[in-house]
């Protein structure tokens, strides 16, 4: 059945426009004959939520072994920013270096005064508000076949964490005998964090995230402690920094 004459010309014009539009989607060749390729992002992030689970290991804590996991949930309001929250859980304990140092400690004698060894912080748990800014998006080819898209980002945030301290060299027991237990403390403290990393996309939903981050918080060590009297000495505050390397998977939805 043919359309009425009234509609034939407009319909013909419409179909012709469709044809032209279809032609318009073809590759346009540049002046050098090479195809002009629109280099947009393959993986869009705007308006998506992201859940991530990663494992992290401390890199600069020679006296403490620290290994843990980080769960994160964030929202991407645009392509280069995401804001969210994170929960951190670590297994932390004194390293073999710290235990060897304890084993080599000299016997305590009356009147002997010593300072505590610093940087014995065990970052055991924390919750943070985190923002990531990802100014760089790129891709590279592996073996000329497998294209890997990636993002480079910087992150910053703040929150609170539980920090356990177990002194390497100050005894918790008075007297001059062999030390069976060492001075300890636990506190919840404000923590700032800074870092940076890469996201490697597997596909639109899954990606591998690797990052290096530093947790900054106020800590202290004891000075002028009579080794036979744990109650003596004064705390000397300092800014502690625990740097970690983390890698994990994230899911966009």
């Amino acid at each position: 059945m043919l359309p009425p004459k009234l509609f034939a010309a407009p319909l013909a014009a419409f179909v012709a426009c469709v044809a032209l539009a279809a032609r318009g989607e073809e590759v346009v060749y540049g002046p050098d004959g090479a195809p002009t390729v629109v280099q947009g992002k393959l993986h869009s992030m705007t308006g998506l939520w992201e859940a991530g689970l990663s494992f992290g290991i401390a890199m600069n804590t020679a006296l403490v072994d620290q290994l843990g996991g980080l769960f994160s949930l964030s929202y991407h309001p645009n392509e280069w920013l995401d804001l969210g929250g994170e929960v951190l859980l670590n297994h932390a304990s004194l390293s073999s270096l710290a235990r060897n140092t304890r084993a080599d400690l000299r016997p305590r004698s009356p009147g002997q005064v010593g300072d505590e060894i610093a940087n014995d912080n065990q970052l055991r748990a924390g919750a943070f508000a985190v923002g990531r800014i990802a100014p760089i998006y790129g891709k590279f080819n592996l073996a000329s076949e497998l294209r890997v898209h990636f993002q480079a980002f910087l992150l910053g945030g703040a929150g609170a964490a539980q920090v356990h301290r177990e002194s390497v060299n100050l005894c918790a027991e008075p007297g001059t005998g062999a030390c069976q237990s060492f001075q300890q403390s636990d506190k919840v403290t404000g923590v700032g964090l800074v870092g940076g990393g890469f996201r490697f996309y597997f596909n639109q939903r899954w990606s591998l995230r690797t990052e290096v981050r530093g947790y900054l918080f106020r800590s202290s060590y004891k000075r002028g402690n009579d080794l036979t009297d744990p109650s003596t000495g004064a705390q000397k505050p300092y800014l502690a920094a625990v740097a970690t390397f983390g890698a994990g998977l994230s899911f966009l939805f």
Partner: protein, 278 residues
Amino acid sequence: MRTFLAALLIGGAAAAQQADPDAVRIHVLEQRPFTEAGRWELTFFGSTQVNPKFTMHAGLSAEVAYHLRENLAAQVGLWYFPVSVQSTLSEELLTKARVAPESAEALLVRGAALAGLELMPIYGKLNVFDGKILRLGIYLNGGLGAAKTRLQLRPSTDPGTGRTFGDTGYRPIASLGAGLRVFLSERVTMRLELRDFAYSGYVSRVNGCNHADVVKIEAAEAGGQTATGLSSGCDERAFGAPGTQAQLNAGAAKDLLARPSADVINNLTFQGGVSWLF
């Protein structure tokens, strides 16, 4: 009517072209905007050690590379570490717990020269805030060379001597690295890389003196005398001014030489720099 039929046929043909179910995968080959093969590259780096457990290194380096092929270059580099000292932790352990790392773990690199190869198997591109598109390369490199080493004898907190060092000579060094190059222009490249400098931590002589020599020097200096019967090449005066200073430094060298270890030291260094292609 004929007009309508003609338009319908053209439209149908065009639509059929777009809806072709047999999609053909096309590899778009995009020529690199410039070539590196046959060109020289001069790079200046700032370096810092990233695993500073017992030692801390920071310094500068310069590297010259000739690109034999697009993805392969031969390199020669010089490193100088003006900061090559024991870490804060090492000094804390010494002053607060009276324990010190073995000489192998405390060995310091003052400078190094290495020659090697660099392979850049991965090539890509990136953009910044959806703006300018930059080329990038991911590379691996390796090299062999020699390093000038030393040991720190006294801590910086020692009121009598301050921080002092003993010369432990030259030794072979190898490096393995991986990094990222971002081509800012046809001539200027930014490099970020991680290098593992590996070298033997075996130390048998400090300032040319073996363990027996430093025992003699410590005893002689404590008595206000000069040691006798030292082995060839042993420089007593390199331990400092006669008296207490030489005695303390020789005593520290004696402790470090007492238990020599053949460990291989891995000094992980992060380097960031800018290079110029010509």
